[in-house]
Symmetry: C2
Subunit: 360 residues, 2 copies
């Protein structure tokens, strides 16, 4: 059994070897930890900076066992890891954080929204959709346009379709594969904010200043943090984050996507139970970034400071945009972060750049 | 043949798998590079965060060949790598930076001091010592006490002996093993400064603000940077660094240890042709730290900014001092860096802490 706080030299396991796992592994190494990454693909971005990569599927009993035996604590880099994998790791005696409870709520958009409302926070109006009839009745109740999303496994705009009117319903239902879904009323928001927040094993909560996000085609393009003029909503955003973290008995970092309405109310759009793309600005804007914060929480260390030292604009480098690296490298106000991925397929997250802004 | 600047995805080789190699590998990973580490010990601190560790001696032909074949550029983490290893890598077609020329000058304390004087900078008075007679004549010329150092392979106070008077000479000569040496006059300095400086493949030079260093028992304990009241000597320190970098046709980061005299003159005490312990403060005090800077230079990228964003006091954690990690982890002004080493033997560099100071 691991005892917390984990001493340096312990090994932290990461399910998933993409860029989030890579940046977690780099942060863990700075604190003197080893990492072991489980990923189905050999030589994953995270595996290439880890002490060990276990190349296995998330349902591979032998791979999960190897990870559990090697690691004093295990976390994951994305929420579409099968819940069964976490449960198996727990059964093998592993210390998994965030725990299966957080994953269960956040893997199902309906369960997530119900949970958010139960802890006293707001969401858009929504309706579960198990068939075309539900969709049609939902459109009547929520109005159009409305957004149809699969209950599970969507991210970066995948598994989503706008339904403009009732005549659209069947096509939209088909386009998401006719899978269990949720229909969401259109939120009349003025901007999208996100808050990166953490809860330690001791129950302490820490929130970074909210960032303002811009998307294109369902994919995040930029985060500006701290969000301009967010002073008024920061306390409300932190209060929501605290209720969510405590309600999930959460350990680790999560990303909370929020819609800010014209009257200042905040709706929770999505909970990502992991380090989050909208928190990458913390790498160059804060003393302790979201990756170190997550490692601290998972390892049972005290949480680190979350104050913004300098305003940052984070921009994702998607697909061939990564070819702009020479110009970014030559810009003294730009901090470049690349993920060690090969093929720059269109839309693929290849890296990001944090631009340090003069303080306001 | 590699062409510069190296694109992300290239592999950078590092001779030596200790903490400096580890922090270089982490910086390289942030920029999207892979690293390959050659070290005689398996599972070295750097090897555990590298895509590949070649476990081989520095004189192992097969190991050097594997490194040369895998890497687009190769560097080293400490200056006691055999010059023959670098020459062999160059012969194998590898792009090695810094080059063998820099190593040749800095591996021999006499050649180094002569070089420093040739480029127009100052050193303490010194005399080469090849035997007891040289030592005795040197003491007569330079006065006592004087410092006897082996010409090669000393670091952290090893291979050094103070000679208090002529009666001490034979014992001092024996204590350093009767090897070729240099006798240095005592410098009547007010403090020790160091400057971390870099030169790119394009010849550009960049210097960080000087730091003020405190040693105990020949080992660095703290660096305070920017050094208090160093504004007056910074231009002179930068001028010396530039002459040294250009004289060595240097590519990469080096550490220049300086004695500041009461009249403001600077003597060059030592040139370390590598990232340097007195530059660790840059990790939390600057946007681009010395490790990223070195990777940029080696990869033929533009050098990064060197301005201090916040004053930092760096403290080394030696041997069992690393057990203080829980208190350091709980201090929001302290940034902890641990090296992933096992046994905390007395005096062993296990990690360091950067304390962020309020701006002066």
């Amino acid at each position: 059994m691991a005892t917390f706080p984990l001493p340096p030299g312990s090994t932290i396991g990461i399910l998933g070897g993409g860029q989030l796992g890579r940046m977690l592994a780099l942060a863990a190494a700075r604190l003197g930890f080893d990492t072991a990454v489980l990923d189905p693909e050999p030589d994953s971005p995270a595996g290439r900076v880890a002490a060990l990569q276990v190349t296995a599927g998330y349902d591979d009993e032998d791979g999960l066992r190897r990870l559990a035996e090697r690691c004093e604590a295990i976390t994951f880099e994305f929420e579409n890891v099968p819940a069964a994998a976490l449960e198996r790791l727990v059964a093998l005696g592993a210390e998994v954080a965030p725990g299966p409870r957080a994953l269960a709520f956040t893997q199902d958009r309906v369960a997530e929204k119900r949970f958010v409302r139960e802890v006293g926070a707001e969401t858009v109006e929504f309706q579960p959709v198990d068939g075309l009839e539900d969709l049609i009745s939902g459109l009547a109740r929520l109005g159009t346009p409305a957004l149809l999303k699969t209950r599970r496994e969507g991210y970066d705009g995948k598994g989503q379709a706008w339904v403009r009117d009732r005549a659209d319903a069947a096509a939209a239902w088909d386009s998401i594969g006719g899978r269990p879904a949720v229909l969401e009323a259109r939120a009349d928001f003025v901007r999208e904010l996100s808050v990166i927040a953490a809860r330690g094993r001791d129950g302490a909560v820490a929130c970074y200043p909210a960032g303002e996000n811009r998307h294109a085609g369902g994919v995040l393009r930029t985060t500006l943090a701290p969000a301009p003029d967010a002073g008024a909503v920061q306390p409300a955003a932190e209060a929501v984050a605290r209720r969510v973290l405590e309600g999930l008995e959460y350990v680790g970092v999560l990303g909370l996507e929020l819609f800010e309405l014209a009257d200042g109310r905040l709706l929770v759009n999505e909970i990502a139970p992991r380090v989050h793309n909208t928190g990458h600005w913390t790498q160059d804007g804060c003393a302790c970034d979201q990756f170190e914060q997550h490692v601290r929480a998972v390892a049972g260390w005290p949480l680190g400071p979350t104050r913004a030292l300098v305003p940052v604009e984070m921009e994702n480098l998607l697909g061939p945009e990564v070819e702009r690296w020479p110009g970014i490298a030559a810009d003294p106000s730009a901090r470049l972060h690349l993920y060690g991925k090969g093929e720059p397929r269109p839309g693929r997250k290849m890296g990001h750049v944090n631009r340090l802004r003069p303080p306001a």
